[in-house]
């Protein structure tokens, strides 16, 4: 059984109230940081911990913090990215609704480390009920002197605000989030300048995922070195994985990084295997935007080693035979899943969510969706398969923000690993267009 650092007390009755949370050791990190540590020491601990951004990109959090520009007399901001809307990812919602004080504690400690006196939690518009939970918790933190002026007599002031978005996926991109927070249309900005130089209101800003910030109290309490002992290599600590799809026990699991994927899927402690006794067909390991992998490649790397739940192991083999840990949205698909239909569904999402600012993404996402729709509904041609790859390639890397890549990768990967299914949709168009139709290896012989 792996250690639970974030979710240890998640099922304690009333843990969302200040008293109960405090009784279970809450806000210790704030006391420790504000009373005994300098901001730079907190940053140093986070650096030592090796914590990597939990929002998807996996950039080391401590390093991100140290890039923050600190000009004299200019306010700095910490913004928590709670705009979790990647299909398949639902870890932050659970963390915030069950343990609102953990996030607030993390925000206070992190803001102290960065020298921010105003911080924001930008929350996805659909999560209004979570917003209310957070607001209640923030009010409690103010009432108990953990927010506001002169926190715990240390002379450090912090105001924390929760801001709901309008429900756009693109506002999870950090610069689009900042635009939205400023009250503008949520279009990603051109980089450079990066938020660490000119972020919110053109001030130095750090944007971190909910889970990254929630890990900071643990790191401060236990020490960065202690945290770094968990995990494998450069993937340290624990990670929330939101497992969904055709699993016996879908849900949110806190795992120690380094857990074998096979154990995660099949062990009773975690997902408990594939439902209805069926076979696993494919896995999208880190939210809908990462490349899909067939069963053989998700359980073992191309070199035949066991695939582990770490940033490095999952990306072993690059995009040819690997994928990414991403945000931890683990989607398992059994043998009855039609990969073409699934790819079309993902593509439809990105088409809908593209902001429309830069041309490759605006036009390309719609184009891919239409071609996939055609293939799925039995009107495709063989050329369409290469067309998809070509369009995905035209988008990838040529857009302002990573949404272009997020739209292109799943399509390119699906064709890469499941080309035979796409071809079957052309050769057996009539059959494939039936509702629930799915390619089976024997079907080729028919």
């Amino acid at each position: 059984m792996g250690r639970k650092l974030l979710t240890e007390h998640i099922n304690v009755e009333g843990i969302d109230t200040f008293e109960v949370y405090r009784k279970h050791g809450g806000y210790r990190s704030v006391e420790k940081a504000l009373k005994t540590m300098s901001p730079d020491e907190v940053v140093e601990e986070v650096k030592k911990s090796g914590l990597r951004g939990r929002g998807g990109a996996g950039f080391p959090t401590g390093m991100k913090w140290s890039f923050l520009a600190k000009p004299e007399g200019v306010p700095r901001y910490l913004v928590c990215n709670a705009d979790e809307s990647e299909p398949g990812t639902f870890k932050d919602r659970q963390l915030m609704s069950k343990l609102p004080h953990l996030l607030i504690e993390g925000m206070i400690t992190s803001s102290y480390a960065l020298g921010a006196n105003t911080s924001y939690i930008y929350i996805r518009g659909e999560l209004l009920y979570v917003l209310r939970i957070l607001e209640k918790a923030i009010a409690e933190a103010y009432a108990n002197g953990f927010l506001g002026k002169n926190i715990l007599g240390s002379g450090y002031d912090l105001d924390l605000h929760v801001h709901p978005g309008g429900g756009a996926y693109i506002c999870g991109e950090e610069t689009a989030l900042l635009e939205s927070l400023e009250g503008k249309r949520g279009n990603p900005r051109n980089k450079p300048p990066f938020p660490a130089m000119q972020g919110l209101y053109a001030r130095p800003t750090v944007v971190n995922n909910v889970e990254s910030i929630a890990a900071v109290p643990v790191i401060v309490n236990e020490g960065g070195d202690e945290y770094a002992k968990i995990g494998v290599g450069r993937s340290t600590g624990t990670k929330l994985i939101s497992a969904c799809g055709h699993l016996n026990k879908p849900g949110i699991y806190e795992i120690e990084l380094g857990l074998p994927v096979e154990e995660f899927i099949y062990s009773d402690e975690y997902c408990g295997g594939i439902w209805k006794g069926r076979e696993l067909k494919a896995v999208v390991a880190g939210g809908s935007s990462v490349p899909i992998l067939p069963k053989e490649l998700i359980l073992k790397t191309a070199a035949g080693e066991n695939r582990l739940m770490t940033y490095e192991s999952l990306s072993d083999g690059g995009f040819v035979t690997g994928t990414m840990l991403g945000s931890g949205g683990f989607i398992a698909m059994d043998e009855t899943t039609c990969i073409v239909r699934n790819t079309w569904n993902f593509s439809r999402f990105y088409h809908h969510e593209s902001c429309g600012q830069c041309s490759p993404c605006r036009e390309g996402t719609g184009w891919m969706e239409k071609v996939l729709h055609r293939l799925e509904h039995g009107h495709g041609h063989m050329e369409d398969i290469d067309l998809l790859v070509s369009v995905a390639k035209q988008i990838e890397g040529n857009t302002i923000c990573p949404l272009g890549e997020a739209a292109a990768w799943p399509v390119a990967a699906a064709v890469r690993h499941f080309r035979h299914e796409f071809e079957w949709h052309v050769t057996h168009a009539k059959e494939a267009a039936q509702p629930g139709a799915v390619y089976r290896p024997s079907a080729v012989l028919v």
């Binding site: 249309r185 051109n190 902001c355 429309g356 830069c358 719609g366 184009w367």
Partner: protein, 333 residues
């Protein structure tokens, strides 16, 4: 100052200059095309991705290449930067892809579009695109909206460069139009239905790179290559009064602001100059406006070619004599 190498040509520019502007200082065919960037408009650029270039070396300090192609219009130069544009196969291929993306939902109604002949998208597609399409789906359409008696909006032609939004933001006090919707359903519109009505609203026509915003007073009157541009000015209390009048015969068909070689407006003009003063007597005529030789507008031999001496030397003697007696008139500025 920063020294950069652009397609093998070295140029020195002030710090903070964008790669595109550095390339424009070199000039010629190596300048990346720009569909959304517009020098007079702050914040514009980075959207169309037509100007993507490859940075082969980031700077003298850190000579690593940049991992992705960068938009040259918004990326500032670094000392020692090495940039590849026309010398990079990758850049040219990506540009082909960008043309394709911009055209898949474009109606290609050039035969009835007033912008044809002076359209950035037309030029861009002609220079960098391919002549076939792989797109077989239905093209995107929008519900027509009326934005007033002076400006015609054709949303289907729009490439969402945002120039008109920046223009309204930066040179008028009251912007009533903007981008509504998201993704490929994003459109220029007013919320709630409104007309664009202020003294400088007409400038959105000049900044539009395509035929999405055109002059209603010029609508369907003539193809631009049948009209002749003439520089003129008048004493205008609102603007500089420096314009180009487009004549067909003795009639002024339309008035536009003066543009530089990259199609960028030099001085904004007011709606009175643009839409109301359509008589020659309203204006002081300065002379023919310069039109680029490659432009279709100069196809009616408006500006005669200037032959250089080496070419003349190769001509038959009789022709040389004739040329000496009747030298070709060089018109324009």
């Amino acid at each position: 100052m920063a020294k950069i190498t652009f397609d093998g040509v070295e140029v020195e520019v002030p710090d903070g200059t964008t790669i595109l502007n550095a390339a424009r200082q070199i000039g010629g065919s190596i300048v990346p095309p720009a569909m959304c960037y517009y020098t007079p408009l702050k914040g514009s650029g980075g959207k169309c991705r037509a100007c993507l270039v490859r940075v082969a070396a980031g700077s003298a300090k850190d000579p690593r290449p940049m991992p992705k192609l960068v938009a040259s219009c918004v990326t500032p130069v670094q000392d020692g930067m090495v940039v590849e544009n026309t010398t990079s196969e990758q850049v040219l291929n990506v540009r082909k892809g960008i043309v394709e993306m911009l055209l898949i939902n474009h109606p290609l109604d050039c035969p009835v579009c007033d912008q044809a002949g002076e359209c950035d998208l037309q030029n861009f597609a002609f220079e960098h695109g391919v002549s076939t399409t792989r797109y077989q789906e239905e093209r995107r359409t929008f519900e027509k909206i009326d934005i007033g008696p002076l400006i015609q909006l054709h949303m289907t032609r729009c490439i969402l460069c945002y120039r008109c939004v920046y223009t309204a933001n930066q040179i008028t006090d009251n912007r009533v139009h903007g981008v509504l919707g998201r993704g490929d359903a994003a459109e220029i519109g007013t919320y709630i239905e409104n007309i664009i009505d202020n003294d400088f609203s007409g400038n959105v026509i000049d900044v539009c790179p395509v035929g999405a915003l055109t002059d209603k007073t010029f609508r369907f009157k003539s193809r631009v290559w049948f009209t002749k541009p003439v520089n003129a000015h008048r004493d205008c209390p609102k603007c500089s009064g420096n314009v180009v009048l487009w004549y067909k015969g003795k009639e002024v068909l339309r008035t536009t602001a003066r543009k530089d070689q990259y199609g960028e407006v030099k001085e904004w003009i007011c709606n009175e100059c643009r839409f109301e003063k359509k008589e020659t007597s309203d204006w002081t005529i300065e002379g023919p406006a310069h039109i680029d030789r490659s432009s279709v507008i100069s196809a009616n031999h408006y500006e005669l070619p200037v032959l250089n001496q080496s070419v003349i030397a190769d001509l038959p003697e009789s022709t040389q004599r004739e040329l000496a007696q009747n030298p070709p008139l060089k018109l324009g500025s």
